[in-house]
């Protein structure tokens, strides 16, 4: 039982991070119908930026934790969203309206380029960061096993919930959210109604990159080890999460992320660590066979 609860906590933490990345995929897919293959790399850049920011704060001697966290968050968000914007502007906007495969190849190219760009500028070795937030709460203790809910896990889960709430409000209530939903439904009609579609799409990429930056920062703090290749598999998992939850649906992305995190944590805990990726893709295939539009997705209506 204790072990179960511990894996539950770990799974939820991991799932929060997947969910944050998955939102970027699902929003972009919803609005322009393409797989933003470079999104995993954006998340990786977010992680590198936050490790750089932590290092600089360490050198300059800022030690008050809340201030340090806010500054790192700001740096990571601002610069990562600049990358998100630039990727869209360079690699996707010129291809808007051409066949989808072209955009996908362009995205794969961008992903390779960004990976190797970070490899060249930051080096191939892993970067490690000392734990920033230490300690935790003991939830449950039996004779030989204690369930620990560490402060960093609390921080990750709370921040994810907060961001989800903010984004849900943003999409549901603000003019930008309405514009996004309008572009999602009918881009031509949205243009006719005076919505600046290009700007809305750019903002969507920026929002996705912001969440990826937060995920990158959280992962840096949680695991403390990053490298230039981390974006590929995380991006793949996050896209799986988005598909699992029903692509295009924001709560679906979060739900998919959580489920994937839980599956992975329990599989790794009870069966084998090596095959945890196989388990998560297996779940994806099963869900797609029985629920082709994902858990919370709208069923796809085919029209002639």
């Amino acid at each position: 039982m204790a072990y179960f609860i511990q894996q539950l906590v770990n799974g939820l933490t991991l799932g929060s991070i997947y969910g944050l990345i998955a939102i970027g995929y699902t929003m972009v897919y919803g609005i322009i119908g393409m797989i933003n293959f470079a999104h995993g790399e954006i998340y990786m850049i977010g992680a590198f930026l936050s490790i750089l920011a932590f290092t600089m704060l360490g050198v300059t001697g800022v030690t008050w934790m809340p201030l340090a966290l806010i500054m790192v968050l700001l740096v990571a968000i601002v610069f990562t969203s600049a990358y998100g914007w630039a990727v869209e502007r360079i690699a996707y906007r010129p291809l808007r309206g051409s066949q989808r495969l072209a955009a996908l190849i362009s995205a794969i190219g961008m992903s390779l380029a960004l990976q190797n760009y970070v490899l060249l500028t930051q080096g191939a070795g892993v970067k490690t960061l000392q734990p920033i937030i230490r300690g935790g709460v003991i939830l449950y203790a039996t004779g030989n096993f204690t369930v620990i809910l560490s402060y960093i896990q609390i921080f990750i889960i709370l921040l994810t919930i907060l961001l989800m709430a903010i984004f849900a409000t943003l999409i549901a209530r603000t003019a930008l959210g309405r514009a996004q939903r309008a572009c999602e439904q009918d881009r031509g009609m949205a243009t006719l109604l005076g919505i600046n579609v290009d700007r809305t799409i750019s903002l969507t990429f920026i929002m996705g990159a912001m969440l990826a930056a937060v995920a990158g920062m959280l992962v840096t703090m949680y695991y403390g080890v990053i490298d230039f290749f981390m974006g590929f598999i995380a991006g793949l998992k996050a896209f799986t999460a988005a598909v699992l939850g029903g692509i295009g649906s924001l709560p679906g992305a979060m739900l998919g992320g959580m489920l994937l995190g839980l599956v992975e944590a329990f599989w790794a805990g009870y069966f084998s660590v090596e095959y945890k990726d196989v388990a998560s893709f297996g779940i994806l295939v099963l869900v797609l066979i029985f629920l082709p539009s994902g858990l919370l997705g709208r069923p796809d209506v085919e029209k002639v």
Partner: protein, 433 residues
Amino acid sequence: MANQSSLGLEKLRASAVLKEAGLASLVALVLALPLIGFRTVGGGDGLSFEFRWEALVVSVVIVFLGRSLVTAMHGVWRLNRFSLPGFQRFGSVIERRQVLLILGIIVLALLFPLMPEVDRRAVDLATLVLIYVMLGWGLNIVVGLAGLLDLGYVAFYAVGAYTFALLGTVYDWSFWGCLPIAGAVAAMFGILLGYPVLRLRGDYLAIVTLGFGEIIRVVLTNWVALSGGPNGIAGIPRPTLFGLEFTRRTREGHSFHEYFDLPFSGDHRIIFLYYVILILALITNIFVLRIRKLPIGRAWEALREDEIACRSLGINPVNTKLSAFALGAMFGGFAGAFFASRNGFISPESFTFIESAIVLSIVVLGGMGSQIGVVLAAAAIVLLPEALREFSEYRMLVFGLAMVLVMVWRPRGLLAHRRPTLMLNPSRPIAPK
């Protein structure tokens, strides 16, 4: 008068160019500042960072100059990607002179190893190009003809390679005996994977195939008892010419040089391998050309263009797609068996996602459905990193950026050719989407 106004326009444009370039370099500054300007160094007990202003300045200047050039090309000289002189007609010339060109390429390919200046390394490189050509043609069935997006093609390549490697090392089966088995096993995997997921929409298929590619690699890495794990399988038998081996001495029978009374040379094997893959690739090509004209090939193309119309005409979309998927997988399996036999050693390292991406970009860069486009794109993609070997640090960066640039420049591929083989009204051009 006209001169003056055009001069004024030029001036205006020049300032606009500068403004545009200035904006671009400002963005570049923001992007480059944290990742190029700073570098975190050290590890273990605490990181520190260094500031590299030279690299920062260089990258901003490069962006400034590049952006000025591109803006000037678009604005002042009115050049854009559609009017770049020469290239516009390149595709149509190739299409008109196709038969001649194909014959030329085949003759060139046949004579290539016999040419005087061609050394062993060149033949080896050409063999690699041909492997990618074959993979490209195989994937072209799935992506170009049937319009299914497969991001995990390398999985079938791996299945073929491991099938032959296991049969060859454990049971001592020969390459030629295993080749059909490798293809059949790969096709079976294609059907097993395709059956549940081909009912789904295109992008789900893409992600499931991508996941499948990863699963195969993870299984091959971790199932040490079967595949040798990360250490791979070594000592895979080489192909033989009707039983003649290409070694200095053989255990029984004759080796190639003894039989033909030639002095022993390692080049024989390299050249023989080149011809084997050339023949395999040509068989793939002829197969694809012929099957396009069969009802099943027509059904693939029709399904790609309009699935709903096909269903109303009584074509079973799942079976049709499944056949394309299985055939594509089969050629991937053949290529994999050849790859294993050529290298003599395989490990999961050779079957990463990047291989799938390379093969897919060969198909798309070449222009989907175009057989010659695949050849040109495969040659470009294999030879470009080879030519950039001196800048080997930068070559994957350049490779990625080149993929983006080619797509932005010609979104339908270098030799755009995605015309259905049969059309009701052939005079009507397909609207550029």
